[in-house]
Amino acid sequence: MDNLPPTPDRSNADTVVELHDAVAVLGQFPALAGASVTVRRGEIVLLRGPNGAGKTTLLRLCAGLVPLVRGSGHILGLNLATQRDSVRQNVGLLGHQNGLYFDLTVGENIEFWGSTVGATEAEINAAMERLGVAERLSDLSVRKLSAGQKRRTALACLVVRRAQLWLLDEPHAGLDAVARDELDVTLREAAASGATIIVASHELERAGSLSTRAVDVVAGQIHGGQL
């Protein structure tokens, strides 16, 4: 825990995610059809479900990227319908893409995302060391990295942004066994320091041992989402 920048407490809300009958559409298709879920601070929640069940849409809804069409939703006490910009400032999303700049080095990418939240050099270095992308990898162009190294760099960017709610879509994808273990340690530390984490994953055994609770997403609805 020494290396991980603390998650700043920007909200007193104990309930971090609260969705009631939330509906979100992709084009004309209702990707979420009346989803209800509650997530408390410090939880690591695993989203299970088949492809196309609505897991990614749920994460994007919580990130403020997909509009809430019907129902109600609050993230850290902020209304998803009316305060999406404020929601975004407190949320970190790692989706299928990594959000990196290929022509910058690993260090420059992390420095860029850190500078957008005023992170200090010590915090940036700590995030890089935590994800194992300091030293040798730091000066390497992202274009030259393996898929796993890119994923680790993206996670370091997430760590340095100090988001309160982490939304991770298949975070273990492309990582080798050592990197997966390191990622799990990082996520547990983040949760212990106050972050709340929602993970969508098909690797149920690994993600299941990591999570404090699992919910099932089936055909745009959530089973077991309420505490």
Binding site: L65, P67, G99, E108
Partner: protein, 227 residues
Amino acid sequence: MSSWRIARIVAAKDLRIEVHSRVLTNQVLPFAGVTMVIFAFALDADSVLERVAPGLIWLATMFSLLVLVQRSFAIETDDGALDAMRVAGLDPRAIYLGKAMALAVELLVLEVVLLFTAIILYRQTIPLNGVVLLVTTLLTATCGLAAVGTLYGGLASGFKGRETLLPLLTLPAVAPVLIGATRAVESALGTAGAVVSDGWSWVGLLAVFAVTFGVGGSLAFGPLIDE
């Protein structure tokens, strides 16, 4: 963090990517140079070239603008970085301003090179009393082009077929800059008997254009890049 600071961070990031990738120096400048040479071949008569040189400078600038804008947004969409900036809650106005600033710097470099190319290829001379008008024209036209290019680049980045959509959107919109900047540079260079005093009204038009698109673009950019 203030929007101005975010804008500077985004601009510095874009320019750093350019320094690493050298797209401007290795691709755009040669492209613009070849365009100028081809114009010289097509309009072989010296008297015609001297008459139309200011217009050719700006035509080459417009074509090169399209390449620069494509590149500016390709780096954002290659790995979902624009999405990541949205999720991070960065002020869209700051993103717009930062990207426009970086684009303006690149355009200025391009224009200066094209001006010197015109002096060599098209036998242009810059009278001393036209220097201030010339510099002012370059600056105001560049601001206008950067404002339009960034706005439409952001809009097109969300669409399939953006490579063909961008020229369709941008070229008609920058027509006033092409006309105004050509007339102002003609006045600055004394082309075909034009006098310096005639050019300032065109600079006024360029300034109005830059302010209009700068303000409009900063307001529209957020909704345009959103879902």
